[in-house]
Symmetry: C2
Subunit: 163 residues, 2 copies
């Protein structure tokens, strides 16, 4: 295997997990900065041309593993690989963010759902021809979609807005 | 940080990197199996309802890091974070695959681009409302898209087919 090393850290408005919007209809609109370590800045060459990027990061404040658990917006347990739960065997998070602009080793992005200070493991270009599957199903979340409500919160479901 | 552990291994038709289709118009249609370790099988509960899943895996046969490199299908160098190159600071790969069926701890999938025996770090449900950005740009690949050719191979570009 390998020894994970942070290539940078997330600057986010969120300092506690309760501040992060969760649930099926959540729009992640928060802006933040991906601050890449100086020694990796050369690896950012040409990143500014992409509109969206993957961020692979570490749930560094998550503790323990829960193979089967109940998400905050549902009342039934699901396998951890069927959720985005932080309590995973490898505590790795994945987020698609919109790249607003680059300033040197600072990537200004929209759509952060990480805590401030989160270590970043990798950044990859989002390539719609292999990564965008708009017709993919929602799995166990599907019935809630059809009902137009979020599982536990019982709020009206609003499809995500895209500019 | 954390110590990565394989939650399973990819069974793929590819035993050498040269066998794996690469390039802009590549359709990854190869079928394979994600063989999850017995101790993590409970974490798969409800996965069978999803049509697509993310696989986060390790480039376990990649050596070294190349912060700026030339992809196999281009003739200009790009930063590693602007490519899907295996020679990354953290050798982590990411692939969206179609989930065909589950048999116990075996996930039969379409769209593998990993070598046989590749260690799997994580599986996450693909959620189109946060993960699908069909209108995302192609960054430095964009001019090649418009020209209708792949950079070096000079083959006609064919948009990916979706059933």
């Amino acid at each position: 295997m390998f020894t994970p090393q942070p290539i940078g850290f997330v600057r986010s408005p969120y300092t506690g997990t309760k501040q992060i919007p969760k649930g099926l209809g959540t729009k992640h609109e928060a802006e933040g900065v991906l601050e890449i370590q100086p020694e990796f800045e050369r690896g950012l060459a040409d990143i500014e041309g992409f509109s969206h990027i993957f961020v692979i990061w570490v749930f560094d404040r998550s503790q323990g593993v829960e193979l089967v658990g109940t998400p905050p917006f549902d009342n039934r347990p699901h396998g951890v690989f069927s959720t985005r739960s932080p309590r995973r065997p490898n505590p790795i998070g994945l987020t698609v963010v919109e790249l607003l602009r680059r300033e040197g080793r600072m990537l200004h992005v929209r759509g952060v759902d990480m805590l401030d200070g989160t270590p970043i493991l990798d950044i990859k270009p989002y390539l719609p021809n292999i990564d965008a599957w708009p017709d993919a199903g929602h799995g166990w979340l599907e019935p809630y979609l059809h009902a137009g409500i979020e599982p536990r919160l019982k709020k009206p479901y609003r499809p995500p807005h895209r500019d």
